[in-house]
Amino acid sequence: MSLMSIFDISGSAMSAQTIRLNTTASNMANANSAAGNADDVYRARYPVFSSVQAAVAANNSDPFAMSMDGMMPASEQGVKVMGMMESEAPLQPRYEPEHPLADEDGYVFYPNVNVVEEMTNMISSSRSFQANVDVMDAAKTMMQRVLSLGQ
């Protein structure tokens, strides 16, 4: 039944958005983690989303049972996090000779995290999460209604 697969679809999107929110939190938390050389600095990271068949997203590895069920998996696309991407933006070297981690020239390196960008990412992911919660809630109501058929 298609309404059932909405739980898989919206669930996968909610979990992907949670991962996005997690990386945002991690980026924000590390926005001021300085390091003594450019290689050790934290770099802003972002998840890369890709669409995936709903049953795969829900770890249901039985495509035959699905097609027997009469639904076409091609039309039901969940979301998965394909991987993480590190930001290529330039790091911020700062001249802080008193800093315990400063190199011989007196520079420390700060991460390439743009806090404003992270805030907008946070709002975007929480809104998307909310939209999927609403969809799931509506699907639940529709299902409960169908269950009362003939009563």
Partner: protein, 136 residues
């Protein structure tokens, strides 16, 4: 005289099923609103419903051949890929995603309402059948 459910229930049984399937397609669109390169999809409800009811439309569906009139022809129930159309985006986006979240949310809410309407019609049909059987 046998009771024919398909005659008694009319269009509403298929309509409810299709509403059901449409809701999962729109849910996929909303779920993928942040996926780069994802194209929002939907189907032409009226055309697919007509096809399901056997009232014309293009009849390139896969059905089991029936050699006796007592065979049950198993028509395909799912939405195949060629029935699924792509939405025309109002605003192009840099990452190639064509999901308009507001539009999809509106479509989902509307589909949920129409699902409820179909359900109420179907429920009314069943209530009528039960009344007829009881002879009250």
């Amino acid at each position: 005289m046998a009771i024919s459910f398909s005659n008694a229930l009319g269009v509403h049984e298929q309509a409810l099923l299709l509403r059901d399937q449409r809701s999962s397609i729109i849910a996929s669109n909303i779920a993928n609103s942040d996926t780069p390169g994802y194209k929002a999809r939907d189907f032409d409800f009226a055309a697919v419903l007509q096809q399901r009811m056997g009232m014309g439309g293009d009849s390139n569906t896969l059905e089991l051949a029936t050699s006796s009139e007592r065979h049950i022809g198993a028509a395909e129930q799912g939405i195949s890929d060629d029935m699924l159309l792509y939405r025309t985006p109002l605003q192009p986006s840099l990452d190639g995603n064509t999901v308009d979240e507001q539009l999809e949310n509106a479509a989902f809410a509307r589909n949920a309402l129409e699902h409820q309407a179909s359900f109420q019609f179907l429920n009314g049909k069943f209530t009528g059948l039960i009344k007829a059987l009881r002879g009250e």
